[in-house]
């Protein structure tokens, strides 16, 4: 029974179908809002779905210099990684998440799989542009993983110390802590950590100020250059899933509050919060900023978000309560 439930969770409800639909909604809202900020009409909300159907109809080209098996299999790695991650994230009031004592750490590793898949695919494609793209992808992954790790550590410390231990990496415990003591977002000492987490989101998704690996004007899409048809569709889907995972993680870590006890309302509330996170961190930022250079991005990530997260970590370790 529990195995059947896991399959259901992975393929239909929080993972699989639901996550893909939510990811497409997030991408569609992002594109529409981006257009509205630039005062144009923009594509319809269901445009990502149309793009997906289109890409599945296109011819698949594999370069002669590519390693065929690795090139075709790489998109799947990130996609499966994201499906597995979707099962772990709790939706408060609807779905408790996969029960485990350290699922936050597993999630951190799973979050790196799309970047890894991109690197593997790019290096197997044998194109020089992809090679530059994947080396940049590697650099930026290192840049944003550092503050991300400190933020997760801070939240885990906060919850662990309240429960009398050291660090508690269980998302279930983090949610139940916030149900008892109020959401982290209302705790002033955790606000710097929240800001640091939000700073990491654009680089995780790879949108404009930090889309340095895919810079289409200089690298012609970088790691994605050689992909066409279903491979590209798979990468796009993974991008949408990643939006869901990262925004759901932000919701779970900082503001998992519920509205009443009816599941449908809680689900809609969760979707609304995800939309809010994506709009604030991706759409508004990419509509108003220009692409950074690699050194600027590294400098930014290793100073501002790390410093913010460290402030929260130190305050937490000192046990400051405001």
């Amino acid at each position: 029974m529990s195995a059947l439930k896991l399959v259901f969770n992975m393929l239909i409800f929080p993972g699989g179908l639901f996550a893909i639909m939510l990811g497409m909604l997030l991408m569609g809202v992002d594109r529409k809002l981006y257009a509205r900020i630039q005062r144009r009409v923009g594509p319809p909300l269901y445009q990502p779905f149309i793009d997906l159907v289109k890409l599945l109809q296109k011819e698949i080209l594999v370069p002669q210099t590519a390693n065929y098996t690795v090139f075709r299999a790489a998109p799947l790695i990130g996609f499966i990684g994201m499906l597995a991650a979707a099962v772990m994230i709790p939706i408060s009031g609807v779905y408790p998440g996969l029960d485990s004592s350290a699922n936050l750490l597993v999630l951190l590793y799973l979050l790196a799989t799309p970047a890894l898949a991109l690197m593997i695919g790019a290096s197997a494609s044998g194109s020089p542009y992809s090679a530059i793209g994947y080396s940049r992808e590697m650099s930026i992954t290192i840049a944003y993983e550092a503050p991300l790790l400190v933020v997760l550590m801070t939240v885990a410390m906060k919850v662990g110390m309240a429960n009398g231990g050291f660090a508690d990496f269980s998302l279930g415990h983090i949610i139940s802590y916030q149900q008892q003591n109020g959401s982290m977002i209302f705790d002033i000492t955790m606000l710097p950590a929240l800001l640091a987490f939000l700073c990491c989101i654009p680089a995780t998704i790879g949108t404009v100020p930090f889309d340095i690996p895919e810079a289409e004007t200089e690298l012609a899409e970088g790691p994605l250059l050689e992909y066409s048809g279903s491979g590209l569709a798979m990468y796009n889907l993974t991008g949408g899933l990643k939006m869901v995972i990262i925004s759901a993680l932000a919701v779970a870590l900082f503001f998992p509050g519920t509205l009443g006890s009816f599941w449908l309302i809680n689900l809609l509330w969760f979707v609304f919060k995800c939309l809010l996170v994506i709009t604030l961190t991706i759409t508004v930022v990419r509509a108003t900023r220009a692409r950074m250079r690699m050194d600027q991005a590294l400098k930014f990530y290793l100073t501002v978000p790390v410093a913010l997260a460290l402030v929260s970590l130190v305050l937490t370790l000192l046990g400051v309560r405001i």
């Binding site: 257009a35 630039q38 923009g42 149309i50 080209l61 066409s228």
Partner: protein, 143 residues
Amino acid sequence: MGDLIKNIVKKSPWIYRINAGSCNGCDVEMATTALIPRYDVERLGCKYCGSPKHADIVLISGPITAVVKEKVLRVYDEIPDPKVVVAVGICPISGGVFRDSYAIEMPLDGYIPVDVNVPGCPPRPQAIIDGVAKAIEIWKTKL
């Protein structure tokens, strides 16, 4: 492919530009006038893509200079089927002001099948958008 899928798919044409020795006049019209916020072709589902392998509609400008001809043909081969070619400006059609030059190898349709011609030096943005709209209809029949 069913009619339903055809009608869905035609709402997502991705555009790629090739500059085949153009003077940049047509490129300015394409990149900064016709396909940007003011006229907004994204409402038709269009998207600029940086890689020929993602493209559905390819816009080619310029008189195909002798040096760039091989490269244009190579990039054209990189575009996955089904694809549509739009020749933008008078140059790929007849050479335009470069007509009698020894350095050009126009016309474009001597080498690759051109579906839509958008003449002009440079063409008006409205003409380019009309060309893209016509290309979408042709693309639908090729699906």
